[in-house]
């Protein structure tokens, strides 16, 4: 690719215009509404300052709990998806693996399934007495490992995370495979001649050269994790009790109660948080990228 070839800036105007109208402007309007008492029971709109934000940050502690759950979900899914995706990508570019494309397709396929279907399937699989997982464990004399996966406060959150990882890891693998394929083989060959083992090559060659792809998947995972809604909605609906509730399930709840102002305040907090974290993440991780 010719890096010196610069396209004129007006090439971006069309896309920027569409993005601004349909993505950025609604976000700004949402921030405006978050300072009002907008609700479904009145046509009046009153400015109430930071009242909605105070309710979230200082009112009912459940909101902070939801924010904590969202961060926990994001961190765990980002780290685990990236690690498993990376390992799978390494295996799936190995030429000794037979039927690689079939394996790749199978691992990627959950990504294209609707979360509604995934939710129905896993609610059945994870049923404590009739579900496939526990009955299989019982059949293998591993009954002590059987749990109430979605109904226990200790396991529900991790079960949701596990299902989300199962669904999303194939996509991460595909992005990382593309990244791995773009690393010239010569670096590995030279390092091998110099006596570098598999793990040294991974740490000193593969990971630094894969940094642009890792940046992409990290940003995608983090922004997805912070916005998570569907996987939790279909698997536990935020339960048992409130154990798996996250910011977006709370936003949905507030909208269903007709408290739009409070709902938009929560969305606005999330919007700003995602904006900031994405900016610093891209900036930080790009510094670590290696040119070759």
């Amino acid at each position: 690719m010719n890096n010196n070839k610069i396209y004129p800036i007006y090439f971006t105007f069309g896309m920027l215009f569409i993005y601004s109208i349909f993505v950025f402007l609604p976000g700004l309007i949402g921030i405006f509404y978050s300072f009002t008492d907008w609700n479904s029971f009145s046509d009046e709109l009153n400015f109430i300052g930071l009242e909605n934000y105070k309710t979230i940050l200082k009112g009912d502690p459940i909101y902070l709990f939801y924010i904590g759950n969202t961060v926990k979900f994001t961190l765990l899914t980002t780290i685990i998806k990236t690690l498993i995706g990376f390992v799978l990508a390494l295996v799936m570019i190995n030429k000794n693996v037979r039927f690689r494309n079939i394996h790749r397709t199978i691992i990627f396929s959950p990504q294209v399934l609707s979360f509604l279907i995934v939710g129905l399937i896993f609610r059945s699989i994870l049923h404590p007495s009739k579900g496939f997982l526990n009955t299989t464990l019982e059949a293998m004399n591993l009954g002590f490992l059987a749990k109430n996966w979605l109904g226990s406060i200790d396991w529900a959150f991790f079960s949701v995370i596990a299902v989300d990882i199962w669904k999303g890891v194939g996509y991460i693998m595909v992005v990382l495979i593309a990244g791995l394929n773009s690393i010239p083989q010569i670096y590995h060959e030279v390092a091998q001649i110099d006596g570098a083992g598999f793990f040294r090559r991974i740490i000193h060659i593969t990971i630094p050269l894969l940094m642009p792809s890792i940046t992409v998947v990290t940003v995608l995972n983090i922004t997805y994790g912070l916005r998570v809604f569907d996987s939790i909605y279909v698997l536990t609906n935020g339960g048992p009790g409130y154990a798996t509730g996250v910011v977006n399930t709370a936003v949905f709840k507030e909208f269903s109660k007709g408290r739009f102002g409070l709902g938009t305040a929560m969305s606005s907090l999330l919007f700003l948080f995602i904006l900031l974290i994405s900016y610093f993440l891209i900036k930080g991780l790009n510094k670590k990228a290696v040119e070759y």
Binding site: G241, Y242, A243, F255, S256
Partner: protein
Amino acid sequence: MKSSKCHIMAIMLLIPFLMFANGQNEKKSNSKPTVITFGSHQSGLPSSGIVQEIAKEYEKETGIKIEFQIVPDAQWRDLLKVKLNAGEAPDIFCADADPFSLYDRIRPDINCVDVTNEEFTSRMDKSVLPGISYNGSVYGITFPGPKIWYYFYNKEIFNNLGLEAPTSYAEFKAVSQKIKDAGITPVYEALQNGWHQVLPLFETGPYYEELEPGLYDKLNNNKMNVRKLAKLEEIITQLNEFAQLGFYGDDFMSNSVEGDFEAIANGEAAMVLEGYGWGQQLMQDYPEMKGKLGFFVMPWGDNQTIGINPGSNAYFANKRSENAQAALDFFAYLAKPENLEKRLAGDPQALNICWPEASSKMPPEYSAYYDAHKKGNVMQYGVKYIDTQWMDVGQDLEAMYVGAMTPADVMDSISRRRDEQATIQKDPAWVK
């Protein structure tokens, strides 16, 4: 060669566009058949599928298709409100209706077609009209008769263990313990649907009112806080005790209400709290259960009063829909005398419907039991800001069962949500 490949590719790319354009022309030339979307939760339509059958007959007669969109109970209330607020609700939608929560739930004045002057409205039982009315106008059509919930029990299990139907909490607990000791789940409870666990709290409302006359008025006028309702807290504590004693079995957090037929018929569980027509459906699906089913009033907090809920789910025509008139025509079709009878006959769980012209299927033993007990309207029908938080209370109870909340926390939550809802709606009894 390269150029011909380019041409082939260009033609292939053009094919979908040409097909799309052709399709557009076809659409213009043939007028599309009307499709009415009908959104409901699982419990909003008879599980026998009789409404869908009547809809198919309607399609045969008129060519108008009714497309049902059925959503799990636990998600429907929130989803419907979000869809209404976003202007994306289906042409017909089903909602639970009672006089105090109708406005809060669906804002009928802005979302629903006024059916006050429709012919079918005059034929509905007058007692159900408050549940589907707002500011003197009727907005919906409803079919189910009054709802009553009993504990149904497997007489065979009770007889084998020498047990009698309990009439107090102490007896209920003792009976459950003996059943559990026999290796059977005493009570089939199901939290997956999100609403079933809440029934004991508010279906016992007439009993609270009996203990403290004028209670509903006091609560509605904010002269008393629901937090002070000691009997309610006592029942919540008893529910928790049942869960901790294992009387609901191991799977109750993952069970769904629909699974209760199998659990009772197979003898896995001995008792279940169900609507009073449930027994008829069970005996139809499991004929071997004939004569083996008994029932009793829920004895939580030593209650012996039958709670009646005159309100039930109702269907509303979306005012903003272009198919609003077609939806009303479908309502009129459902309300035809022959279709009312068909509906009643086709739904084993319905013992009657709220249309005086339709016959009743009430078995004599049900009527005798009903007549022998005191009765009154349930709390969600008589007290403001209760029914609207039904699913939230369900979540509170779930949290209590897993140890994340105490009965006192649940009481606080119910009270807080009442205050929130009253304040946001600027209820004069709350906002001075």
